[in-house]
Symmetry: D3
Subunit: 156 residues, 6 copies
């Protein structure tokens, strides 16, 4: 492909210029699930995961993960984050994760919300993997996004 | 809850002691999918994603993500990584991601493989989100794990 | 404890939403001490610490530590830092550390000042620990804080 | 001072060569205190800190902080960590923090233990600072160190 | 030198206070070269570097490097980055690298542009070092800088 | 290009598997220069750089930069570093930088040495850029490499 040897505008990854975008209040909500065995769900419900408090650890990991988004995602802009909330709900077949992120800056925060969900999910698996090595992360997706030029976007 | 005020062994997260574990060759393979719109798939196939080469960027992000695992996952041990390979295959409904990680150290590397897949998936979404804001990460899971005391584990 | 299995508002750590707070000039000053042996103090005074220039290294570590605050403190907001100054004064029983941090953003910077002092203190101990393995960090605390809704706070 | 313009061996900070040191089992225990108001202690005991579970957050921060030691302390070697445990005990005047770190590598882990205590203390203050802006970190120190050429060191 | 033991204003490194500076649009362009063997140039031109796509990897590394500037350069302010573009052009004797960085903040972004060029150059060398262990990075420099109080600066 | 859609072995960047390589003592020495104005050289010699001790700050930055190599260079393996030394010598036309890195691990450390030189050079420029905005980094290259299967390599 020409993009790598000729280095023209097409095909060369770049962090797009957002300096003309407005600083405006923006939010994003993302969700995801970790599918777990019945045994792992029971241990989460009784608070007896051998490695320690799995849900609390995953929540903290998710919040810290949101802050690491520009370190992890090559073309994400480093932006201010004004609020991050990560909730985990134990269900019969695993854990549902919801992350809500707010900012007042020049780019949307859907990548931060998706990263928070993914890192919380990974941390949760790390806590229970001795009990359930077959855990699966699924349905990680943006549910809603507000602010910026495009306004409100809701998953169809 | 007693775990937080009395701080007994139960309930307090800790990085478990692996110093008695053998240094042995260990591998892990994890996979995952990013479900995309037909338009996004077409752009990936023609190499015309406006933000730049999406698959190459995701692959690099996945490899670098594997190295950041102990920074992201609170109780993961910092270990040597001796090889990381991230493959992305475009299919009709999205992209399939496979990560293979090798080490010769005291802990398994399934978290590194899962993190590589997740970060590659997040980076891919970042590249195409202007075209497909409804992308979904799904089926992120360990397929196989070798080495260490437990030997070979294959997803049932 | 219900906080971990039911995930209600109470008890779940979150990065609080500061988007409604004013962007205003804010400062914080923190101080701390490293108590050292007479031998270590003498080496600092003569500039003969075997591992190299201990005070200069600690000062740089403190400034860089201030910038790492949101990476280290789970619920700290990533914010702009407009000025960081770390001073170290050798006294007869050790080293006194002062950090002054300024910003014009939505949150106070006392955590950044405390982190600068702590990391400078840790780096100083690292430089002299071969000479004085019994060094102690003590009295790390905010002295003054200005700006924001609460205005000036001075240690009582 | 000559150290900066002539760059001789004296005075120039460097990461000392440890390649001749043995890989041996090593441990370090460090402790520290956060002095808090009666109100903050009461909230910790009842688990009602408004910002969320303060002790659990501080514990995770301390463990993750241990892993960041070579990023924070300029001349610390990046080494393997085989186990990290951070305990927090609420007392009448604050919180006592203990960190235990194990490795099997070429350098001692006292800096990792001290960093774990310091970061846990900083994170705890961040959780309660709205309630108690006058919190103080004190008595951060190594209690015991084992392994390596020097063997067991216990605080005199 | 007095700077280290007496800690006066002179000689003590500090992150200078920029809070009085204007938030204004600022850009910087930096360039640099990696001198390579004819064999390495040929492999880059044919896209057959054994380790993988060298130019794409270097470009991503450069962009991510720009974001790590305040982590790497002790006294650099952490600032917003609104756009980063890294171009690599293969010439007969190596690769020419250009980085363009934009922001709307209180400090110039020439260090970010220089860091992007340097990290891209290092990553390129890493990709070809098995083929050309004698590669050299040269002529890394700011070409132009706009915005802020000093306005436009062009290399004389 | 086929490499991106078909994901065969060719063209896909990967962290090569080094698990079969020997753990052996390895060293690398890299050098580089920062070309500066006569005014900047004079300030370095008299120790009167307004921003603080430039050479000491650059030295620390170089050592810390060596440790960040696997974070910066996408395909570099995270390895142990057993010794890092960065020297800066002021000459009539600038500063010469030498970095020596040692390890006992499975990969060479030339990238760590080159990164140490580059980051030290960038940090030095940051210290003097108000005085000399036209500084240039040049001749960054490996001088010697020992250990591993290839043994001693000296720049021809």
């Amino acid at each position: 492909m020409s993009g790598f040897t000729h280095i023209d505008e097409t095909g060369a990854a770049r962090m797009v210029d957002v300096s003309a975008k407005d600083v405006s209040a923006r939010t994003a909500t993302a969700t995801g699930k970790v599918l777990l065995s019945a045994e792992a769900v029971a241990l989460l419900r009784s608070g007896e995961v051998p490695k320690g408090d799995a849900l609390g650890t995953a929540r903290i990991a998710g919040i810290m993960g949101a802050k690491r988004t520009p370190d992890l995602i090559p073309l994400c802009h480093p932006i201010a984050l004004h609020g991050v909330k990560v909730d985990l709900a134990v269900t019969d077949d695993g854990v549902e994760i919801t992350a809500r992120v707010k900012t007042a800056d020049r780019t949307g925060v859907e990548m931060e919300a998706l990263t928070a969900v993914s890192v919380a999910a990974l941390a949760l698996i790390d806590m229970v993997k001795a009990v359930d090595p077959a855990a699966v992360i699924t349905d990680v997706r943006v549910e809603e996004k507000t602010g910026g030029k495009t306004g409100v976007w809701t998953r169809p």
